[in-house]
Symmetry: C2
Subunit: 399 residues, 2 copies
């Protein structure tokens, strides 16, 4: 729960100070090295300063530039930092949309509390992003190029100058927008099937623990996991599949939630399974939640060629996955998250066992169907122009 | 182990580019608000840039100023950051000393590897600090004021501009020096006994876990623990005492290692006990190591009024501590670390039980004796002017 006191100012994105850049940056072409660098932001950024004494100051939209941070700042020493991953979509009707931005706002507030950063009314996040995209939207996502998106990174850091170990007394919330490669356009290596290869984590490295903070989108969950991630890449894998506990429960993939569709070994029924939220080990992904909600609404009865599935959030182990593969019960598998959207998994390596995840049908088509539904909502097409999960950004500047 | 390749430059603190400040900062008086703020650094800082392509660049000593950091920098999102806590001491012989700086250098390298930052030859850290203190030492720790110290904060951050989740491709190692309140000068509240009050952590929040990174001095260990720390302060405690596991093992205090001296319930012998390093839950403190080494050398036989102790690193639970208190077996207890040095503990609250830690003798004197020995080494007095744990900084500028 956010903890504000009424004595200090709340975050109010309805009032924004705008300073326009006089030195516009080149817009990188799709697939260009600049885009692939994940570092080339749009012309402006949104920033809001917070102090313990006065609360939230007036939000600003101002030219993108480096931040000036004291060498003693809390975020550089104590990882008082958290973030969100979102996208802004240029729709087929020419409109800009966010996808369920209040889910991200609420999660950012939960994350910030976990690392002692300030709370705010989560609805303000989407309004702040709208102010930024009203300025940068037309130039960076041209209205005549539907189907494109920018990656958005709302971030909060403790940037006060006090080096003593203490809860932050100053903070900065900022939002940047970054051209990002479209994961659906990634071409597999010649001679290989599409899909991710996941490397199951080694028992000596654990991403999260009950009583820890695996459920919050804190920087602290990422830095210590990069070593295993780098080792996985070095041997030709795309992400780590994080396991937990003596029984080697499957929790989540490196930067996304993991789903498997299989025939249940007891009931023989087809199940879509993902790890549960209750033990707070995994990130409650917005795409995860949307996949679960859509699947429960549409896939529990026959849907085109797709047989119905039971949709289940429960603990399962890598041993369960291996057994399902050995018994020919794997139907399909995918990871989902904002950065990589919904991407099929073709292989999991666990120790010296390579588990083929494509299933007999080489992906039955559940992931593809879910992507189609979600893209319609994100990009405002196929009758989903006014879906309740969309937030349309009105009032774009012409340039 | 540090992983350098011979193709890139290694860190070499023998060559430093020096840029002197032309705008010297006021030196705060001991006990002043500036000193108590833990934010008022000396005139200069040492910095060394690293890139994946070229390795370590030429170190610099340059005027203290804010860092210019891309909003996309790894350290702001993924907590690719680690640090050390050290002090530089003005000796009674007029010399500047570091205390076991290679221990800090080695730990910083271990920490940096754990969060995928670059390694270096750990001996270079003390040389880099020496370059900084040759410039700032005389003004900030005047030669005629022995017994004073500055807190040193060597820090490494991933500051490259790539937002994608990946091992850092750029990094900055910097060292800042901060006037710091002397913990031994802290006066207890009127009517209270000296010593810290520790609040045992609640089972729903843990600091570290096996397979995690509790043994490394990563920012990621601090941010998520500040909430519990702030709650402890709010109810009148000084630090959290972090417990782990179903059996509630005592691991460490908020920013320091925890020691208890008690009569062993089976043998009746007097023991000095602290948590072990093997399970990688706790930080391997330099003060902890020094306390253990000194105690094993000097306190296992009679020493003045102090009865001999057995020195033991082993797991023990808060239940063991409570039972020792109920049975009158507590002799003394203290925490130790660089920032708070060696400080007695007077009370631990565990749930609704207040455990009196002062012992029948109200601290037998072990902590006081250890402090005396260590201070002699740190400040070069009582025949310890040339101790092997000291590193004397030669070649100070006059001003």
């Amino acid at each position: 729960m956010p903890s504000f006191t009424s004595a200090v100012a709340e975050l109010d994105a309805s009032v924004v100070k705008i300073t326009r850049s006089t030195n516009l940056r080149p817009v990188p072409a799709p697939g260009s090295p600049e885009e692939l660098s994940h570092s080339h932001c749009t012309d402006h950024m949104a920033t809001v300063r917070w102090t313990d004494a006065n609360g939230w100051e007036t939000p600003e939209v101002r030219p993108y530039e480096n931040l000036s941070i004291p060498p003693t700042a809390s975020c550089l020493h104590y990882a008082t930092e958290c973030f969100e991953g979102m996208k802004v979509y240029r729709g087929y009707d020419g409109k800009l949309r966010l996808f369920r931005p209040d889910c991200n706002g609420e999660r950012l507030v939960n994350s910030s509390q976990r690392t002692s950063l300030p709370g705010f009314r989560f609805e303000e996040l989407k309004r702040l992003i709208a102010k930024l995209m009203q300025i940068d939207g037309a130039r960076w996502l041209p209205k005549d190029q539907p189907g494109r998106f920018l990656y958005l990174r709302p971030t909060m850091i403790g940037n006060g100058p006090h080096l003593g170990v203490q809860t932050p007394k100053e903070a900065l919330l900022f939002v940047i927008a970054v051209p990002w490669p479209d994961p659906s356009k990634k071409v597999p290596e010649p001679g290989t099937k599409p899909g991710l290869k996941l490397l199951a984590s080694h028992p000596d490295t654990i991403r999260a623990w009950p009583g820890g903070f695996g459920y919050a989108k804190l920087g602290a969950n990422y830095g210590p996991s990069l070593q295993a991630h780098g080792q996985a890449l070095a041997v030709g894998f795309d992400q780590v599949l994080w396991l937990f506990g003596q029984d080697r429960q499957v929790t989540e993939a490196g930067a996304s939630n993991f789903f498997v569709i299989w025939e249940n070994k007891e009931t023989g029924k087809r199940e879509m399974v993902t790890a549960p939220l209750e033990n707070q080990l995994i990130l409650p992904g917005v795409t995860r939640r949307s996949v679960l909600e859509l699947s429960r609404a549409e896939l529990t009865r026959p849907c085109g060629d797709l047989a119905p599935v039971e949709v289940v959030e429960k603990s399962f182990t890598i041993g369960d996955v291996e057994q399902a593969w050995r018994e020919g019960r794997i139907v399909e598998s995918f990871v989902c998250g904002t950065a990589y959207f919904i991407t099929p998994v073709k292989l999991i390596r666990n120790g010296d066992v390579d588990i083929d995840m494509l299933g007999a049908a080489e992906n039955a088509g559940y992931a593809k169907q879910l992507k189609t539904w979600l893209e319609a909502i994100m990009f405002g097409k196929d009758g989903k122009e006014n879906h309740e999960w969309s937030y349309v950004i009105e009032g774009e500047s012409d340039k």
